[in-house]
C-alpha cells in the first residue's frame, strides 16, 4: 500500500511538472496580450508532432527533436502574434475566437500531415530509476521533471533579473504604464509569445513518447490548463505553479484510487468551489467599486 502511495506521489510530481509548464505559458501569454490562448493545447500537439517527424521519421536524436520542437512552436507563437493577437490586443473575446480558428487550422494540418490515428513513438530510453522498493521513475518521465525545474527556474531568473523580464512583468500588470515607461510593447509581446508557446512545445515534445500523439490531444490538456490558471488566479505565474501542483496531486491520486472520470469531476468541482469562495481565484486580486 505504501508503495502505491509513494508511486502515486512520483506520478503526481511528473504530472505537476508538465501541467505547470503548460499553465505558465498560458499565463505568460495572457499577461501581455490580455487574451486566453485557446490554441495552447494545439501548440503542445505541434511540439509532439515535431518529435514524431524528426525523431521517429528522420531518426534524429531525441533531444535535437525536442529543441527543434521548442523553437518551432515558439515560432508558431510569433506567427499567432503577428497574424491576429496584435490586432486584437484589447479584445479578449476576439482574441479567444481567433485562437480557436488557429486551433482548427493546426489540427487540420496535423491530420493532413500525419493522419488521425495515434502515432506511436519508440521510447528514447528504456532506463528507469528505482527510488524505493518497487517505486519506479522512468528516465523518459524524469526528463520532463528536470525540464520543468530548469525552465521554470530560468524563467524566474529571467523575469526577476533582466531588463526584459522586468518590462514584461510591468506590462502584465499595467500595459499603459509600461508603455509610458518607453518600453516597446510589441517587442515584449513577441518575447512572451515565443516563450509561452515554446514552453507548450517543449512539453509536447518531451511527453510525445509517453502519450502517443493524436491531432486532437490538445483538447484535454487545455481543459486542465484552464482549471489550473483559474484556480491560481488568472495572470498569476506563481499561482499557476502552485495550482498545477495542487491539481496534479489531487487528480493523480483520485485517478489511482478511484478512476479517471471521478478525478476529472473532483478537479472541476474543486475549481468551482474555489471560484465560489473566491470568485477571482486563489491568488487573484479583488476588484473595487
Amino acid at each position: 500500500m505504501s508503495e502505491l502511495i509513494l508511486q502515486t506521489i512520483v506520478n503526481s510530481i511528473y504530472a505537476a511538472s508538465y501541467m505547470s509548464l503548460i499553465a505558465v505559458g498560458l499565463v505568460l501569454i495572457f499577461g501581455v496580450m490580455g487574451v486566453i490562448n485557446f490554441a495552447h493545447g494545439e501548440l503542445y500537439m505541434a511540439g509532439a508532432y515535431t518529435v514524431v517527424a524528426l525523431y521517429s521519421g528522420l531518426n534524429l536524436p531525441f533531444f535535437v527533436a525536442v529543441v527543434v520542437g521548442m523553437v518551432f512552436v515558439g515560432l508558431l507563437g510569433l506567427v499567432m502574434e503577428y497574424a491576429f493577437f496584435r490586432a486584437l490586443r484589447d479584445n479578449p473575446l476576439g482574441g479567444l475566437i481567433a485562437s480557436i480558428g488557429f486551433l482548427l487550422i493546426l489540427q487540420t494540418v496535423a491530420v493532413l500531415g500525419f493522419g488521425v490515428r495515434m502515432a506511436h513513438i519508440r521510447p528514447s530510453t528504456q532506463e528507469k530509476i528505482e527510488l524505493f522498493d518497487g517505486v519506479l521513475l522512468t528516465h523518459q518521465r524524469l526528463y520532463v521533471i528536470v525540464a520543468a525545474i530548469l525552465l521554470l527556474t530560468a524563467l524566474y531568473i529571467f523575469l526577476r533579473k533582466t531588463k526584459f523580464g522586468w518590462a514584461m512583468r510591468a506590462c502584465a500588470q499595467d500595459t499603459e504604464a509600461a508603455a509610458l515607461q518607453g518600453i516597446s510593447l510589441n517587442q515584449i509581446t513577441r518575447i512572451a509569445m515565443f516563450i509561452g508557446a515554446g514552453l507548450a512545445g517543449v512539453v509536447g515534445a518531451l511527453t510525445a513518447p509517453l502519450v502517443s500523439p493524436t491531432p486532437y490531444m490538445g483538447h484535454s490538456i487545455i481543459v486542465t490548463a484552464f482549471i489550473i490558471i483559474v484556480v491560481g488566479g488568472i495572470g498569476q505565474l506563481e499561482g499557476a505553479v502552485v495550482a498545477a501542483i495542487l491539481y496534479a496531486f489531487v487528480h493523480t491520486f483520485v485517478t489511482t484510487f478511484f478512476d479517471g472520470v471521478v478525478a476529472d469531476m473532483v478537479g472541476l468541482v474543486l475549481m468551482l468551489l474555489v471560484l465560489v469562495v473566491k470568485p477571482t481565484g486563489l491568488f487573484g486580486a479583488n476588484d473595487r467599486v
Binding site: I36, A87, N91, G94, I97, A98, I100, G101, L268, L275
Partner: protein, 334 residues
C-alpha cells in the same frame, strides 16, 4: 423613415421570409432536408444563447444545457412514458431549472471567471452522464428515444414534416424571445451589461435579472435539445461537448450579437458554407481549416459580425448616405 412605414417593411420582410421557409424543403435533396432540420434547431440554440449574452456574460455551458433538455425529454418519454410533446416541455423546464440552480454558484463570478465557471459546471454535468449508466446510459448515451407521435397521417419521421414542426416551435420561441428583449427586461439586461453598479443603485436586483436571462436562455436551449433528441433518436455526452459549444460561439460572433437577427445570419451563413458548399466540393478533411480561416478573418476584418453588412447594404440601396448604425439600435429589426 416613419414608424408605420418601418412596421410595414418589417411585415413584408417577415412574410416573404416565412413563405421562403415554407417552400424551402421542397427544393432540397433528402440529406439537405436533414440539414435544414438541424439548422432550424440550431437557430433556436444560438438565439437563446444571445439572450444570455445581453447581460454581458458569455457562457461555455450552453450546449450542455441543450443536452440537459435533450436527456431529460428523452428520459421522461422513454423511461416514464410521458407523451413526447409534454416531455419536450418538461425537458426544456428541466434545463431552465438547472440554470436556476447553477445561478447560485456561477453568478458569484464575472467575465472570464464566469466563462470558465460555466464551462466547468457543464463538464461536471457531462461527466455525470458519462459516469452513471443508470439512468443516463454512460458514455454510449441513450438510444431508441421515442419519436414525435404521428398526427393523423402526418409522420414526423419524414424530415420535411419534422422541419415544419420545428419551424412552428422555433418561430413561437423566437417570438417570445423577441418580445422579452423589446420589453423592459431587455433594457434591464443591457443595463446589467454596461453598468451593473448603476443598475443596482436604482433598485435592479442584478442577481435576479442575470438568473432570469440565464433561465430563459436555458429553457429554450433545452427545448432545442428536446427537438433534436426526438428527431435523431439518440443522445450521448460527446454530442454536447465543448467543440459543439465552440460552433455556437462562432455562429454568434460571426453573425454579430448586437442585433436579434445577427446570430441567425451567422448560423445560416456558416451552415451553408460548411454543410453545403464545402461538402459539395469534397473538401471534407480541410473543412475545419477553412472554417478556422473564416473565423480569424471575420474577427479581424468584420469585428461587428455579418449583421454589420445589412445597414451598409441598406444605405447602398437607398442611394444616399445616412448615419451609420450605432449601438443604440441594438435589438432592432431594420
Amino acid at each position: 423613415m416613419s414608424d408605420s412605414k418601418t412596421t410595414i417593411t418589417v411585415w413584408i420582410f417577415a412574410l416573404t421570409l416565412l413563405a421562403g421557409l415554407l417552400v424551402l424543403p421542397q427544393l432540397l435533396s433528402y440529406s439537405q432536408r436533414e440539414i435544414a432540420v438541424f439548422l432550424i434547431i440550431n437557430v433556436l440554440l444560438v438565439v437563446s444563447y444571445r439572450l444570455m449574452t445581453l447581460t454581458g456574460e458569455w457562457s461555455l455551458g450552453h450546449v450542455v444545457i441543450m443536452g440537459v433538455g435533450a436527456y431529460a425529454s428523452a428520459l421522461f418519454s422513454k423511461r416514464l412514458g410521458v407523451p413526447v410533446p409534454l416531455s419536450m416541455f418538461l425537458g426544456a423546464s428541466t434545463a431552465g431549472l438547472t440554470a436556476v440552480v447553477l445561478s447560485f454558484p456561477l453568478f458569484r463570478m464575472k467575465g472570464f471567471y464566469f466563462l470558465i465557471g460555466s464551462f466547468a459546471a457543464g463538464e461536471v454535468i457531462r461527466l455525470i452522464w458519462k459516469y452513471f449508466t443508470f439512468p443516463f446510459g454512460g458514455a454510449k448515451g441513450l438510444n431508441l428515444i421515442p419519436s414525435f407521435p404521428d398526427i393523423g397521417w402526418i409522420s414526423f419521421f419524414d424530415p420535411v414534416n419534422y422541419y415544419y414542426l420545428c419551424l412552428i416551435v422555433v418561430s413561437v420561441s423566437l417570438f417570445i424571445l423577441y418580445r422579452v428583449e423589446r420589453s423592459r427586461f431587455g433594457l434591464t439586461f443591457h443595463a446589467l451589461h454596461w453598468q451593473d453598479k448603476l443598475a443596482e443603485s436604482v433598485g435592479v436586483n442584478t442577481f435576479r435579472y442575470r438568473m432570469l436571462a440565464f433561465t430563459l436562455a436555458s429553457f429554450f436551449a433545452g427545448l432545442s435539445g428536446a427537438l433534436y433528441a426526438h428527431y435523431i433518436g439518440t443522445v450521448n455526452p460527446t454530442r454536447f461537448d465543448v467543440e459543439e459549444m465552440v460552433y455556437v460561439l462562432i455562429w454568434a460572433i460571426v453573425g454579430g450579437t448586437a442585433t436579434f437577427y445577427g446570430p441567425i445570419v451567422g448560423v445560416v451563413a456558416l451552415t451553408i458554407v460548411n454543410d453545403v458548399l464545402l461538402r459539395a466540393l469534397g473538401f471534407d478533411t480541410i473543412r475545419p481549416m477553412i472554417y478556422g480561416a473564416v473565423l480569424i478573418a471575420s474577427v479581424l476584418f468584420m469585428p461587428d459580425g455579418l449583421e454589420s453588412i445589412f445597414p451598409k447594404l441598406k444605405r447602398l440601396m437607398m442611394g444616399r448616405k445616412t448615419e451609420p448604425a450605432t449601438k443604440s439600435e441594438a435589438g432592432e429589426i431594420p
